[in-house]
């Protein structure tokens, strides 16, 4: 996330939401999803992508997919 938003990693806390970060526009959101998909080798459904607008939601959905793989 820090890489996508060009932010210091330490400033990204669990309660970060899309509206808090100026750089988190639709393009950045896309880049974030693409990074996650390639980093964790997962594929999110459009409905999930729509709700992944906070750190918590991102963690949840990613873990959900990783869990499904095992």
């Amino acid at each position: 996330m820090a890489r996508v938003f060009k932010m210091d990693a330490s400033s990204i806390t669990d309660d970060v939401q899309q509206q808090d970060i100026e750089a988190w526009d639709s393009l950045a959101h896309l880049n974030l999803i693409l990074e996650l998909e390639s980093e964790f080798d997962v594929s999110f459904e459009p409905e999930e992508i729509g709700i992944m607008t906070s750190m918590t939601a991102i963690e949840q959905q990613t873990l959900f997919h990783l869990g499904g793989k095992d």
């Binding site: 393009l27 896309l30 693409l34 390639s38 459009p46």
Partner: protein, 532 residues
């Protein structure tokens, strides 16, 4: 580096966020200062969705945008060709396919403009299974045309293309054969007669080839542009025991009797590289001058006069023009890729005003009857000339002397141009019988043919016969292994076929109806016509 990227789909994941992106399928040259970017990059995909009609319109819009860009962008412009993918992975319709071809041809042709570079996207997409090129989820969610899982390899590949473009490193070395890759003239001297390997001067050519081989192994593209019969040249390339470079090392070959400027252009087009990526190596100063004046973008180094300086020369060309940077596996594969592209694509070679070039050569054809001093050279030419020789009859000095004594015509041609004199290079022996004439021998040295001289020569001979009151001229073509290039020479010169067999063809021309087709390219001088 920062680019302005013109696109019709979402491509940010491919190029990253250091760049500015156009609106979809939109280019306005006045909207921003294009010269402030390192390059303008055009990356368009064929329409991937919509009705058939909408997709055709989408393609047409992309072609228009492309043309506008080519005419308006004066700074560096990089054009990606389009892959042949369509809605739902197939291009099901020839009309759409044609539009993609049109688009790509426009890119290739534009790449001959100095500021325009073309990247063949097919080289990238062909490595990817076609059903995974598009990820439909991302396509319908975010208008992403190229599957994001290929972004990383795309970035690497694109960087490689850019470093090749920006380094301005030459890509291809175009080589002559005779007296360049080997000593002597293959069409005349034959496989056993050329100098290659062994002692001097053969060792010079052998070493030069070794240098070129290592350049090839480092990703330099080798090409041949030679005036020869292709079969003779290929025979030497494949069969000469000391040939270092074989057929497989050459990405492209233009072995023919066409004008070299056009051949060079067609090489660039087929390889899909800019003319400024080419280095042209030829021992003949007039060929070098031709290429210099018609394709000035091509680098044409002076060729050494002494054979022993050739390896040093080749080495310095490789060092100066092909400065090596860190080589990747990809780079080494490049020659093979280019080779495939060349085989795959058919290109129109652009037209150059060859006549104007010929006029500027200031060629002078001097025709005269052979005198005693000419006899040894005439006999020698009948024995040595293989390619431009209609009947290939071999004569001794006394044969020639007898011809003259018996009242037959031995008309010789001497040729010069602004680069120098070629001396006695043409022989025509005509047997006169009342008001009929039989052309027994017609030959020219391969040093001068291919520049209209041969046509002017036969015209002059025929006009002379007509002045003598001859009414019909007979001639003959006898097939040999090496004279295929003159098979239709008499036909093209206005003769009609009288009879034809596998081995020879007899021709006739009624001179009453014959008019000299003088083209004003070559100055003709008749010498001592009334003497002797």
């Amino acid at each position: 580096m920062s680019f302005y990227i013109i696109r019709n789909y979402t491509v940010e994941h491919l190029f990253g966020d250091n760049h500015d992106y156009s609106h979809y399928n939109s280019f306005n040259p006045n909207e921003r200062d294009l010269s402030s970017y390192d390059a303008v990059v055009n990356f368009m995909m064929p329409p991937l969705s919509g009705s058939y009609k909408e997709r055709v319109q989408g393609m047409k819009a992309s072609i228009q945008t492309l043309n506008l860009m080519i005419s308006e962008v004066k700074s560096r412009l990089i054009l990606f060709t389009m892959p042949y993918i369509g809605a739902f992975h197939t291009i099901e319709d020839t009309r759409l396919q044609q539009l993609v071809s049109t688009y790509n041809d426009t890119c290739y042709q534009a790449a001959t403009i100095p500021n325009v570079f073309c990247i063949d996207f097919a080289v990238f997409t062909q490595r990817i299974p076609s059903d995974s090129l598009v990820d439909w989820k991302h396509f319908y969610m975010s208008q992403i045309a190229l599957n994001p899982k290929y972004s990383a390899i795309f970035k690497d590949w694109f960087d490689l293309q850019m470093s090749a473009i920006l380094a301005k490193r030459k890509k291809c070395i175009i080589l002559d054969l005779d007296n360049t890759l080997w000593g002597g003239v293959i069409g005349e001297d034959g496989l056993d007669g050329i100098d290659l390997g062994g002692g001097y001067p053969g060792n010079v050519y052998y070493d030069a080839q070794k240098l070129l081989l290592s350049a090839y192994e480092n990703g330099v593209i080798l090409a041949i542009c030679s005036k020869n019969n292709e079969a003779d040249a290929m025979d030497a390339i494949e069969r000469h025991p000391n040939m270092v470079l074989r057929d497989r090392h050459f990405a492209i070959k233009r072995i023919n009797w066409e004008n070299k400027a056009e051949n060079v252009q067609s090489i660039a087009a087929s390889l899909n590289i800019g003319l400024d990526s080419l280095v042209f190596i030829d021992d003949n100063p007039s060929e070098r001058a031709l290429v210099k004046s018609f394709v000035p973008e091509v680098t044409v180094p002076d060729f050494p006069e002494k054979p022993y300086l050739i390896p040093v020369f080749i080495n310095s060309v490789l060092e100066n023009e092909f400065t090596l940077y860190q080589l990747t596996e990809e780079d080494k594969k490049k020659t093979d890729q280019y080779r495939q592209n060349a085989v795959r694509d058919e290109f129109k070679s652009s037209y150059t005003d060859y006549n104007q070039y010929l006029i500027e050569l200031k060629m002078i054809l001097e025709v005269s009857k052979a005198n005693k001093l000419d006899i040894p050279r005439v006999a020698q030419l009948t024995q040595k000339t293989n390619q431009f020789n209609l009947t290939s009859k071999r004569y001794s000095e006394s044969d020639i002397k007898n011809f003259i004594d018996e009242g037959n015509l031995v008309l010789i041609a001497k040729v010069k141009d602004r680069f120098g004199e070629y001396g006695l290079t043409g022989v025509c022996i005509v047997k006169i019988n009342g008001n009929e004439a039989e052309i027994d021998t017609l030959l020219m040295s391969c040093r001068v043919i291919g520049r209209e001289v041969e046509n002017e020569y036969i015209c002059q001979v025929l006009a002379y016969l007509k002045r003598l009151g001859i009414r019909s001229a007979y001639s003959q073509y006898i097939k040999t292994k090496k004279n295929a290039m003159v098979k239709d020479f008499y036909l093209k010169s206005g003769f009609s076929v009288q009879r034809e067999t596998e081995q020879d063809t007899a021709y006739v021309l009624v001179l009453d109806n014959y008019d000299v087709d003088h083209k004003d390219i070559i100055e003709v001088v008749w010498k001592d016509e009334e003497q002797d």
